[in-house]
């Protein structure tokens, strides 16, 4: 076992609390690089073009990020999985898993999540692109005390 060393402890405290102006100088650049970093993604058709208007796509990654943020902000839950069933570039079904909180009416939470997801999808993907859209399944895979984000 290492013996406590007050001198070294105070020395390390000094280093720990010393400001890092170098980080402040580059933090915006780092965030920009992360935001620009692509991950493997599949295109989902958001709008069918008519005539020469072209087609609008949203990637599954972007849609997943949007839904995760929306659910986290609106409900006491933490999304732990959001997956899409695609038929080519058409969205067919959504499968969502969340961690809920004790004291929450879980079935009501599931219904609320389904409605919120349906509304969000409706804002992004036009009717013609989701004509045969399938179910939005919600699974509450765990329940914890308090806010799942603050465990």
């Amino acid at each position: 076992m290492t013996e406590p060393d007050p001198f070294m402890h105070r020395a390390s405290s000094h280093l720990r609390t010393a400001p890092e102006p170098g980080w402040d100088a580059i933090s915006d650049r780092v965030r920009a690089a992360v935001n620009a970093a692509a991950r493997t993604a599949w295109p989902i058709r958001a709008s069918s073009g008519t005539g020469n208007r072209g087609v609008i796509y949203i990637t599954d990654q972007a849609l997943r990020s949007l839904l995760a943020r929306e659910l986290r902000r609106r409900f006491v839950c933490q999304p732990t999985r959001i997956s899409f069933t695609l038929d080519g570039e058409l969205l067919r079904a959504i499968d969502i898993e969340v961690t809920g909180s004790y004291g929450t009416q879980l079935r009501e939470l599931g219904d609320d999540i389904r409605r919120a997801v349906f509304a969000t999808i409706g804002e992004i993907i036009d009717d013609s692109s989701q004509e045969s859209a399938g179910p939005i399944d919600v699974t509450i895979s765990d329940v914890v005390d308090g806010d799942p984000l603050q465990r």
Partner: protein
């Protein structure tokens, strides 16, 4: 009944942030960057010779972490995982800050009428001077000892966690830590 929680991520623990980032929540990853940016920066700064390399390494670390996080199942802590990526990026530069001897005067306390008693270097002399001596002493340590000492003493990581980052056994890490501490005590003896 569901209650809007606001989804406050700033105070979320690392595991909650990891799960959110795995799902694809970019805001969660942004909080990870905010939380660990300064931590990785101060580690990389003391390991690399050039300040411009530090910026590149930290940036590359977070870009790689964002790309890989969907495959990170939390076998280690988020901090250990990030340090391991950062350490690989540092090694890839081949521009490590090698141990270099420093002049004795750089490690000495400031002499003067108000600084005769050096029982407490943190109050008897300026913090800035002590920090400068400490940085110089750290730079004199061999690379691996320096890395171990920083992760242990500054980041409060356990020996097994450090071992995971450096691909060493916990006992080997403990040995490096012991030697680093002894060396620092000798180098900074005038401050004690």
């Amino acid at each position: 009944m569901t209650t809007p929680a606001g989804g406050a991520l700033r105070d979320a623990d690392d595991e909650a942030l990891r799960i959110a980032a795995v799902v694809g929540d970019r805001e969660a990853f942004d909080v990870i960057v905010t939380r660990y940016g300064p931590v990785l920066y101060r580690y990389a700064r003391r390991m690399l010779a050039s300040e411009s390399d530090v910026a590149d390494v930290v940036q590359d670390t977070f870009v790689a972490a964002w790309r890989q996080i969907s495959g990170f199942r939390g076998a280690s802590s988020l901090r250990t995982w990030l340090f391991a990526i950062c350490n690989r990026k540092i090694a890839d530069t081949h521009r490590l800050r090698r141990a270099k001897p420093v002049e004795d005067w750089m490690l000495e306390p400031l002499a003067g009428p108000d600084t005769v008693a050096v029982d407490d270097p943190f109050t008897a002399t300026s913090n800035a001077a002590f920090l400068e001596a400490l940085e110089a002493a750290l730079a004199e340590l061999p690379v691996r000892q320096r890395a171990v000492w920083m992760m242990r003493e500054i980041e409060s990581m356990t020996f097994p966690e450090i071992g995971e980052v450096l691909q060493l056994s916990p006992d080997a890490v403990r040995g490096h830590h012991l030697r680093a501490t002894k060396s620092l005590r000798v180098l900074l003896r005038r401050w004690q």
